[in-house]
């Protein structure tokens, strides 16, 4: 009975010790990660500086398309699921209309994105809240590359076969990551003080337009999945 108790005690101690080790280890690694992530990950790569007017050098055609683009869209926002058709139309230079309708056709929202500023033409009541609208503004600015920025730099990451186009505005970093082989932007990452806030994957390009787009927020529970239908 006694020995059994001792064995149990040793086991418990071992677990505590090993978990201590795990905790210490994870603290160490997260510190390390923190230090690494605080420095610019592209610091040692060959870089080129551009003027902000040269943004068209980024091989990303979505913002310039004159066609009406329609994506079948699923948005999950905390416990809400919204599904429908997202219609994107460039109406003038730097002006877009972005509307979401249900499959039945009823409009959920209709926004105008004018030089990075979101104006509500229509929005159903339960989404018509400042915090949600600001989120949509950030998301669509990221997708359509309409945000304001102060500098444009590219980094060549031969090892990963990537070219990273970095748009910077103060503590905000927008990275458009080009696959060198396909010449297409396949990832977009939005960072604030080097912590990633939003990541976007763009896959299966049909000509210049990605067939699948998945956008995910890291600090709030918001995901968008887009599938091209036109």
């Amino acid at each position: 009975m006694k020995s059994e108790f001792r064995i149990q005690k040793i086991e418990v101690l071992n677990i505590i010790r090993s978990s201590k080790f795990v905790i210490l280890n994870s603290i160490f690694f997260s510190l390390l990660l923190f230090i690494i992530s605080c420095s610019n990950p592209y610091k040692n790569l060959a870089k080129s500086e551009y003027s902000i007017n040269e943004i068209q050098k980024i091989p990303y055609a979505l913002p310039y398309s004159e066609q009406t683009i329609i994506y079948k869209t699923d948005i999950s926002f905390y416990k809400n699921d919204i599904s429908g058709l997202l219609i994107i139309k460039k109406t003038e230079e730097s002006i877009y209309r972005i509307a979401l309708t249900t499959q039945f056709g009823l409009k959920i929202f209709d926004f105008e994105l004018n030089q990075g500023n979101l104006k509500v033409k229509y929005c159903i009541e339960y989404l018509n809240k400042k915090i949600i609208l600001n989120t949509f503004e950030t998301d669509f600015n990221l997708l359509l590359m309409q945000m304001n920025f102060e500098s444009l730099t590219s980094y060549n990451n031969q090892l990963e076969n990537q070219k990273v186009w970095q748009l910077k505005s103060g503590k905000l970093n927008y990275n458009y990551i080009q696959n060198i082989n396909s010449d297409k932007i396949e990832n977009i990452r939005f960072m604030k003080r080097n912590s990633e806030k939003i990541s976007v994957g763009l896959h299966n390009y049909k000509g210049d337009i990605p067939e699948n787009i998945s956008l995910q927020h890291h600090n709030i529970k918001l995901k968008m999945n887009l599938k091209l239908i036109q």
Binding site: D81, I87, K89, R97, Q103, L106, D110
Partner: protein, 213 residues
């Protein structure tokens, strides 16, 4: 003089355009008689099978967005909307249950917990089966007709509904008192119109159409 003439002319042209758009619909004089006629819609409709073409008009687009699919209704409260082109999406209302198959993802809701779907359900079943026309609590109904069709214009009274829809126009063929198209006009004048084609009335529908797996 020329000014007056041109005003008269443009007014004439303008009224001609309105005339043409509304296909010669005039307000129904004998509403009671029309109501009696339209009551056949709910009395005689046991089931409907039909294909449909949906057109979405948005003011900022030059072309309408078109989707197509099939439609099944079984009295009193079973409905299947199946979009097949350009996307796959099926929604089934079966009593209090709502089933949605989006590509291959199946989800279920109940109408009591999901107010928006229950509104859609009421609107769809109500406009096809006729119960919406007599719902004077929720709609102001205006009756129009031409030689072949009735046109019912329903203006929602409730503020939640009003904020989404300005008017629902329901076109009903006089020959067999069946709904041939529905037009939902939003407050911005953007609209969705749904045309029912190849309508088959009161033919048996397999029950598994109202189940989704």
């Amino acid at each position: 003089m020329t000014k007056i003439l041109s005003t008269v002319l443009s007014l004439l042209i303008f009224s001609c355009i309105i005339y043409a758009q509304d296909n010669n619909f005039k307000e129904v004089k004998d509403i009671e008689n029309a109501q009696l006629d339209l009551a056949k819609l709910s009395e005689n409709t046991n089931s409907i099978q039909s294909t449909f073409i949906q057109e979405k008009h948005l003011s900022f687009l030059t072309e309408n967005i078109i989707s197509k699919g099939e439609f099944y209704f079984q009295s009193p409260n079973k409905l299947r909307w199946e979009y097949s082109d350009p996307f796959k999406y099926i929604i089934v209302f079966n009593d209090k249950n709502i089933l949605i198959k989006d590509e291959n993802k199946l989800s279920t809701f109940d109408t009591e917990s999901n107010k928006m779907f229950s509104e859609i359900n009421n609107m769809m079943i109500g406009s096809i089966q006729g119960s919406l026309f007599t719902d004077s609590e929720r709609f102001n109904v205006k009756y129009f007709e031409n030689t072949t069709q009735y046109l019912l214009e329903l203006d929602p009274k409730l503020p939640e509904m009003k904020s989404m829809i300005k008017t629902i126009k329901i076109y009903i063929d006089k020959s067999d008192i069946s709904v041939s198209s529905i037009k939902m006009i939003e407050s911005s004048d953007d609209y969705t119109s749904i045309n029912f084609t190849n309508r088959k009335m009161n033919q048996p529908i397999d029950n598994n159409k109202f189940e989704l797996k």
